[in-house]
Symmetry: none
Subunit: 232 residues, 2 copies
């Protein structure tokens, strides 16, 4: 098992290559992105625990990307830049970054700051790939859910939805938050998507979908996953 997943966001290929080597050598799983837009997409797919984010990037700048990512509390953000000015630091930190490192940086210091930041990520410590809750077994690796004897295959969106709900078990998760977590930041209003998928989710995990037990609706707010989640 890796020490964690890290997403490197920088427009310079050379930096990405160096970072990848360094971090992989330190035991992390690494993916990279060239732009802020790409980073936001990979945030959903790769699910990093930490993002190393360059401030100076063409298109959506690092600060804008940082603000967009901050919506998810389950990821730490360390910003990087060549500008070692006080104003830059304050701006980055107030955009939601957890830490700030100026280039050129020393590798040991960067690694130490990464370790420190990862300690604070709530879920992290790598989410287990299989969990049990009540008579349910959800296998995120195999993309299946088993209730009693019957196993069902979960489609990608169903899986993402279920994952986010179980990660926030026993709290009412707002529509908007769910939509943004599963579909991306631009889809906060497409409540219909949610309803359609909640329906098919329930068909697969609930004993009788008319009176849901695990995925209940929280009227006017969103949905909620009920049950004591234990890794398995």
């Amino acid at each position: 098992m890796s020490a964690g997943r890290i997403l490197v966001v920088d427009d310079e290929p050379q930096i990405r290559r160096i970072m990848r080597t360094t971090l992989t050598g330190a035991g992390y799983e690494v993916d990279d992105a060239k732009t802020g837009e790409e980073a936001l997409a990979k945030l959903r797919d790769f699910r990093p625990e930490l993002v190393l984010l360059d401030i100076n990037m063409p298109g959506m700048g690092g600060l804008a990307a940082c603000r967009a990512m901050r919506a998810d509390p389950n990821v730490a953000i360390i910003m990087l830049t060549v500008h070692n000015t006080e104003a830059a630091k304050v701006e980055a930190l107030d955009a939601g970054a957890d830490d700030f490192v100026s280039k050129p940086f020393s590798t040991p210091e960067l690694l130490a700051r990464i370790r420190a930041a990862l300690r604070r990520v709530p879920v992290s410590q790598s989410s287990p790939s299989r969990i049990r809750v009540g008579e349910l077994t959800i296998d995120f690796g195999a993309r299946t859910v088993t209730r009693g004897e019957t196993a069902s295959h979960l489609t990608p969106k169903e899986l993402d939805l279920l994952r986010y709900l179980t990660q926030h078990a026993n709290e009412a998760v707002p529509h908007r938050e769910l939509l943004q977590a599963v579909w991306g930041p631009d889809y906060g209003d497409q409540v219909d998507y949610l309803r359609a998928f909640i329906k098919s989710l329930r068909k697969k995990i609930e004993l009788n979908p008319d009176r849901p037990k695990y995925v209940t609706t929280e009227p006017w707010i969103g949905y909620r996953f009920n049950g004591a989640v234990e890794s398995s």
Copy 2:
């Protein structure tokens, strides 16, 4: 209400004084300690959300104090030192510090780092999600209120109203203030909304809604929530 409690740990009186002035000015509640031992004691009594910890101190050093404090995940630690070496930074961060600032530091940067670190402290996060008052339990996460055995579901407006009232418990909150807090700044005059919702609130939380005990009306002013609110 303060922005948070901060404990300043440094053996030089002058630093403590400057820090206290700066942080108090930024809206924080401040206490200080001269030694690591004293800091550990104040950690229990003062319950700071964040500790500013000097590395160089006589007696128990800053690093040892940091390691001891790290047992409590509900406090952020920022270490300070004049030694701006890489080794010092790595050592501090691996001792459990969340961040590292070298002296002399810029005040805006320090404040920004404090804000960033406070975002990560789990508990603090201002208002608790569950409170008890008398025979009432209000769960803002689950959006329910429980009186004795009976639990009721709260609609969004009811919840917002109750939240604002409990946050200002034992004071008369004017109509206008309540309306603006719950409905928005343009609704200061819609006293009818208030009356309708106060009524349904009372139906859910009062034993007999005719003689309200928790939500009483403050004639000619507004409403008031009575009772000792304790987080739970």
